[in-house]
Amino acid sequence: MLEQDPAAGLLRFGRLRQAWVWGIYPLLWLLTWVGVRSAQPQLLGIPAWYWGAGLAMLLLVPLNLYIVRVCWPRDG
């Protein structure tokens, strides 16, 4: 019996839609460096830069969701 490989034809990496969105990754990465040379100010005994870096990691969730919804190859 013959059947179509479901993996085939899924990729369209060559014509990436919404390419600008990939620029947000390095932007978020750069944000994690902000304020790292100071232990102040603090919130609950944790430095602000640490909270900020955690927030930047959290923002990856909606970013990745957007990529999955919009940029992922249509058939994938």
Partner: protein
Amino acid sequence: MGDTVLSLGVVGVYLLLLAAIGWWSYRHSGQDPVSYFLAGRGLGSLALTLTTLATLLSAFTFLGVPADAYTHGLGIFLGVGVTTALISGLFFWVGYRVWLAARHFGFITPSEFFGHRFNSPLLALLYCLSALTFTAPYISIQIIGGARTLAAVLGEGIPYWPLAVVVALVILGYVLFGGSQAVVWTDVVQGIILVLGMGVAFVAVALSLPPETAGQLDPWLSLPGPQGRWSWQTLLGNQLLFFMATPLFPQFFQRFYMAKSARPFQTLMVVWPLLILLVFFPAALIGVWGRLAFPNLQQPDQIMPLMLQSLPSGVAAVVITAALAALMSTADSQLLTASSLVTRDLVVTFLKRPLSLHQEELLGRGVVLGIGLVSFAIAVRPPGLIAQIATWSFQGNAMLFPVLIAGLYWKRATRAGAVAGALVSSGLTLGWLSGLLPKGWTGGWLPVIPAVVAGTAVLVVVSLLTQPDRERVAAYYENGPWAEEGIPESSVVST
């Protein structure tokens, strides 16, 4: 005494659960290589997400990160935690593309991708040998971490090595019998336990802190840390190291082959940063906070287990179980992948010794046992701190990163270019790690960073001077898994 009994009870229930999963998998999984090594290429979103998480997070995460933060401050969170979250993008750029190729060509081991893409058995062998060489020390840190965690449960007086034996035997037991089915389903349980356990540890430790700590910890709460370790160069070097090494960990790479469709990759990509945040955010803080309770610790790797001793026994037992879950879930995957590398790449492909399915399965189990013993031998006398051994091991995994990216995205990359680039990158990394080359040549970077730069340059130049294998390029890009238009005829497979 009562606390110890409670802790042992919780850990005992956890170990029995693992044994039960191993036994169930032994009875229900197929014995062919795809079943034994890849869980039948049938993982859905939940299983792929949790097995990938549990495979990556290890004794390094649970014990090494707090230990590093205890000594050098919170920089490890940026160096490792942030990078590990950013790796979620690679599930699209690397994982999904590798999955398409593996499904199309039937790859089982990571080496098979490298060898097939460049039509080069030498490249496959190079990946196989480097993965084996650098995986054994990484397995050993799981045994070291497990023994030290169990010591925290049982208290002083019990020698280190019998505990290491117990940890090694439990892991070997369910890997030997259950194969990847057991590894994946224990990973699911372990993934849930380790995220919850770290959360419990964070809350419990935070609530137990003295109310006034103002200023005491400031050097550990900013960069470059109390000893100046986290300079921008060290931080960037560590981030690059983890970014390049993670997708090339053989046990991680093989997870890319196990998905049953594209959907699990999408789920994994979305939830990954949150899961990583839940684990790394507390891990580094617990290490720094440990300075308040144990300011002059000689062996920083003990900080997490020591912090657990100050928690209520029930809470500590849950967290200890989480630590064991983290390290066991990594070690089992490493053992299984190393076994597939030896049986399929070294024996079947390179030595050209055809094996029956039964012979392959038996050999695979023998290799698991052998690698487990080598790792145990390293663990009996640990050559350094967990974070030090891990950093050494990660560099060995990262050195083929240029070949991976060229193989995935550069049609013009040739076999000669890939082999030359891999040899230069590997040779320089090994030369610097072994001390044969002067450390001054690295310019202050981790050795693998300049090695990868040099390897990339060689790969590009040699590729441009030689011609790619047209048929192989067409097999991938024009009428194969990465074809950009339509569904080609060659993608029709018989079943």
